[in-house]
Symmetry: D2
Subunit: 349 residues, 4 copies
């Protein structure tokens, strides 16, 4: 970390700015999805937010007295900031409207994550809904919080992306990785697949099973991970990524196998991780040799990272988080906090 | 049990008839549902069956080289017997066609279970698809196997029905129940809800939950249970039935609270259960004071029954089975065996 | 509810007393058990508590910088109040020492729950460790919070006890129950069995199973439930209680079948529940006809209660809570709040 | 595969030898552990076995009328063959006694798996109990069934060993692997940890968690895998092995990342797998591009293997089995069948 960054980070994480008592009007798009539900409960307890509207296409019920409305009927202009837990394609359109009206945006969808419309189209198979917003500040505060301060809009990363990048960040930022392929084998709860009705998300299918899917380079999170990784170190190898559905509702564990250049031994690696995460309030680094377990992160707002073992020049890093929290909703709030200059942990500890 | 019945049961359960080596051509309607899948695997191992066709509306794959066809294209006449794991309403139509063509029918749907079209319409809210087939022999062999021998068609009971009736049969047939309400509190795996895509069947919903539904007298299995119970004892009380979805894929446990007339103590009740089940190969009676556990019956073809405890004149009976086996597919085969005069356990032990 | 009680309750639940900013020194006995762990996390966030020591016989690790010590080495006198998440027999001894030294006690064990040493010995098969403390104020604030204000010590009820009593309280306090047996069929997560190493608590045993145990009147919570029920209505019937282990870690659902006197119909029953719970911040009453689900209460500090259905004079009430929270640790804090005159929900919403 | 081997395999797999009707007297050591229980149920249905005794140190109950005895009281000489589902250290002693008395042995423990007492001591930290029996025929029939015919004793491989070796066998036997490290990331049910009472095997611990353990080269199965791999190809890289406990009772999935020499593309790799497994009755090879799922193998006696994806020269192979069946008990029977010249699938399909 450069001194400048460190300074920014330390300052912000500790000292609340003068508007710490300000209450922002918040609109939540997609309040009844799995991420949206957690987001709503976190916003409810956040001292600086007041939910002024929430949308749902599927439900007309009200939440704590707040009537749910369809996206099309949401009073966008009544909000200071909106959180978009919408499908990709739709989220970008709302983001563009919000930005145009001077409303701040935290986009939990994939629409603002990739830096170019070309890459987006290649991955998502349709034109980008708001290319003029790209590239957006990428909302992984542990990497680049200085880009988030006062941002008009922020792209909240995918859950796998946060998990895998937290495992690789201290190595990549120090240029420690070789050009050999990096292997990320992840185990994830089914809520990551959302509430869409699919046979493979039914209880009787997931129960008792571990199911690999989109193995290799097929998953949409691969280009997102590589894009950010390359900003830290240009000469890294390809990512080989195999996610597995495991029979839990929430939770995400990545077991990452990375190869390091000569001179990087266990101790030096652990030191790099300590330098990166010792002061991070929402990343817990375990002692060297321990392994992150999924459950340590479930229902929590922090990620768990561990330098677990080293064999030859292959280091095994384990990284866990709650896919609906540090992988989605609580990270969105952390980004909101950074955006507004609030202490990043506000409403999250 | 009357002497006559006992004789029939004993004879059949033990002595295979001369056509024990005959192989029947079998058609399976609804081969890709949860019950259908188990039925296919059981039929495959049954020494007296050869699957000649199998239907699926959702899949065009083949199973062990057998191409799946839609119901409308099934070569009904090529079968000696068909098993119907179809939705109610549809099953009855196929049953009528089969009977007309002289094909034997084991109907796993609800269509042939209720004795009158009037009761059926009241419960299922549409006209009965084949009223001339009612009343059909009710396929609970432990109750009335003599009605199943040489039957042209048999109604396979619902999973809750089998579980609850096995818990009450030895009491009701001896007239031991009072007119007080009988309470059946059941815990069931989600596969009982089938493969229909519903939010409440999704993994992230069922996981970690226990969910009561259709409490009281709302469940469609209530009239089916009461119909059969009244054939055993006319002056029994109403059934109060509360099923609960528990986070397992298969399995069904009933905890039944019944009230008995004076003179019925633990020992006499246990003796009545022993008289009813001691010789039953597919019902396992536990020693008095034990409780049936769901897992004892899962992936097995037999039910477990126990006279668990008695408080005052309330007896607590626990009863467990695999809802896809003794609650559906293996009971269907047991009924087929009885129908054809084969030893009832053929292909099931 | 008498007017006097209602007044006390309303006042206390709403208006914090002048010492709302006081911080109490708290000692936690048994900090590493399942209840103890939740208690520690709740105390950490409670604005009026500072943990000064925590005990564990099994672990010498520290929690958030606090070194764990054995019970024998705990600096009892340094605490204003102690929470006892200890085995019965041991807890009572510590309670007696604490009371003697003027330290307040919230006892999560069974030692102070039963009103007489004779009943205790009958149930727990050994002499009471501190008979002079009996009877203790029974810590179910929704019943009798007036007895908890300024109490020196409070008996925190068992998890099944809270669940079942919340289902029966509005009926019993109105004398609505008949003398017929009351049936409580409960479904509970395995954490209720604690961390003791037993084969029946192993993952491979509990997984996929539903297991009844201690059916009838064998469970130690039966006399506790009946003792409190009889304080509300003397002429109620016996409790028939069948708990079932279901494959979840936390959660408790009771399905209660109670019989009511003439004149009690659905509406009147629902009104009695509304009168009892409408103002209760930690009991959520569902609309009449709904059913409580386990998951609605899991990881939450409130219980869920519903008047689910009525058949004849049998009313089906469903009641759910988190056995480690409203069934143990958060109820302990609610009791602490009442004891100290703090708003009952302090640290719990 | 050499022609000679192919011949042997084909002959044996298809044609039963003249003693196909012989019934062997079988003794089961360790009948009440998780593997032992499955073994008992498989032996019961095997047409060529009669269980003459079964041992258990923990239980004195009887199984199907067979009284369980402690190891010390087992009538070893009454058996033609014994299956040892005993702890390592103990199993080797019983194996030596059996061999001395001319009794055949299938050892499910680790005692006979490693080829030298020196390696054994290094891994298991105590002297080998029967060094004169080493090296023992290694019971992975798909590799080396010719060594199993008429063997006096066979070492049944570990569950992880079978899973990982089946994923690598077709590559290694063709010398296709580079010297780069091979990564095996496995996900396993908790029954692999046995019935020993440990906190980390308790339901409340395993539920909702994914837990890596013994990462890198710490697991005892690493030398066993490498020993057998080196017999197929000498110049392979080190194995990096990270097992993970997932919340299921049974099942094992390996995701293997191996690097292949130039000239090996997807098609050639798939062909090598087809050549190896097309005729194997207990290994199911999926079409190229598919992934093995844990559930496809659970409660089944066959393993599932798939060449799932290729990125650069890294091939991703997925392999699944039931750790108590093809990973233990059914493989033991397959080995018994091979030993006695019976068709290998006898009692297993």
């Amino acid at each position: 970390m450069t001194d400048q960054l460190a300074e920014l980070r330390t300052d912000t994480a500790i000292a609340p700015l003068p508007d710490a008592n300000k209450v922002y009007n918040v609109g939540v798009y997609g309040a009844t999805g799995y991420s949206g539900q957690v987001l709503m409960s976190l916003l409810k307890k956040h001292p600086n937010t007041r939910i002024v509207f929430a949308t749902s296409e599927s439900s007309k019920e009200s939440i704590d007295g707040l009537e749910l409305v369809p996206v099309a009927e949401a009073p966008l202009a009544s909000a200071d900031v909106v959180f978009l837990a919408l499908p990709h394609g739709v989220a970008g359109q709302v983001a563009a409207q919000a930005v145009e009206q001077g409303v701040h945006v935290i986009d939990l969808s994939a629409d603002l994550r990739l830096d170019t419309p070309e890459l987006y189209k290649q991955v998502y198979k349709h034109d980008h809904p708001a290319p003029h917003l790209l590239p957006a500040p990428f909302g992984l505060p542990e990497f680049n919080r200085h880009k988030l301060y006062n941002a008009q809009y922020i792209a909240n990363p995918g859950c796998h992306v946060t998990t895998v990048l937290l495992a690789l960040y201290p190595l990549a930022k120090n240029g420690a990785l070789t050009a050999d392929p990096i292997i990320a084998d992840t185990k994830t709860g089914i809520s990551g697949a959302g509430k869409a009705l699919k046979l493979e998300s039914m209880f009787a299918e997931v129960y008792g099973d571990v199911r690999p899917y989109n193995a290799g380079r097929q998953h949409r999170h691969v280009p997102e991970i590589e894009q950010e990784l390359h900003k830290l170190q240009t000469d890294v190898g390809q990512l080989i990524f195999v996610p597995h559905i495991v029979p839990v509702d929430v939770g995400l564990l990545a077991t990452v196998y990375a190869h390091v250049k000569p001179g990087w031994d266990k101790q030096r690696i652990q030191q790099a991780f300590e330098a990166a995460y010792a002061d991070e309030p929402l990343v817990t680094l375990l002692p060297q040799g321990k392994a992150a377990q999924m459950k340590q992160a479930v229902h929590k707002n922090n990620a768990i990272v561990a330098v677990t073992e080293m064999v030859g020049n292959t280091v095994i890093i384990t990284s866990a988080l709650d896919n609906l929290r540090k992988g989605a909703a609580s990270q969105a709030l952390q980004n909101f906090n950074a955006m507004m200059g609030l202490p990043e942990t506000t409403g999250l500890l």
